[in-house]
């Protein structure tokens, strides 16, 4: 705006080719003798009015600029504050997620499954034969069904999942929802 104002001022009051200078040269100096007085009077009125207009606008522009500057610096106390999250993810969890992201990027997905699993899903489906030592009750925790389930006690019917790949088997490698990533039981499996 200031630039435009300066252009306007130069156009009208410029010493070399301003409108006022041209009026002086072409109208006032070239005026016939009988009109010289009235041209001079009108010229003075015009010049005074023009200078007053320009001064008024200059004051307005400066006031506007100051107001704009102060508005820029003003702090609006009614605005809501910056919400800061409480706490942060543990370093181990962050590393865990980074590793997951690496696997995601090469086509793996995260699946989630139960911690209590059947022997079939935990062993047979993963080609772990019946005579494999890992299936001994020294290495695998077999569980009895609770009485409330109505089933008879049958050790070996369920077990505590011994490895995460049991999930991949029981889910046929299908990707779970993104929320599964946060589950401690989640495992990475190929798609």
């Amino acid at each position: 705006m200031k630039k435009q104002f300066e252009e306007f001022k130069n156009h009208w009051l410029g010493r070399k080719s301003g409108v006022v200078t041209k009026i002086t040269d072409n109208w006032l100096k070239q005026a016939p003798t009988d009109l010289k007085k009235s041209v001079g009077q009108e010229f003075n009125k015009f010049k005074t009015a023009l200078e007053a207009l320009i001064e008024e606008r200059r004051v307005g522009i400066e006031a506007g600029a100051e107001e704009a500057a102060s508005a820029k610096d003003r702090v609006d106390l009614s605005l809501p504050g910056v919400a800061r999250l409480l706490g942060s993810r543990h370093l181990i969890r962050q590393v865990f997620q980074e590793i997951e992201d690496i696997f995601f990027s090469i086509g793996f997905s995260v699946v989630e499954g139960p911690e209590i699993e059947t022997p079939y899903h935990n062993f047979e489906a993963l080609n772990i034969p019946e005579f494999h030592p890992v299936r001994d009750d020294m290495d695998t925790f077999y569980m009895e069904l609770p009485p409330s389930s109505g089933g008879k006690a049958d050790p070996g019917q369920l077990l505590l999942r011994t490895h995460n790949f049991a999930d991949a088997d029981s889910h046929d490698g299908k990707a779970e929802a993104a929320g599964a990533r946060d589950c401690a039981r989640a495992s990475v499996s190929p798609r």
């Binding site: 306007f8 009026i23 072409n26 070239q30 009109l35 606008r57």
Partner: protein, 44 residues
């Protein structure tokens, strides 16, 4: 602006005091219009 500041008053057939007053009024009106254009711009 019909009136021109590049030409003399005589060249524009302005020969009476009334015509001089009208000529200056026209120039002033033009100045006010130009200045309004400046003031309408958004202050940055």
């Amino acid at each position: 602006m019909n009136i021109s500041v590049e030409k003399t008053l005589a060249e524009q057939s302005i020969l009476t005091a009334e015509q001089v007053v009208a000529a200056f009024a026209e120039v002033r009106a033009q100045a006010e219009t130009d200045l309004r254009g400046v003031s309408n711009e958004k202050t940055v």
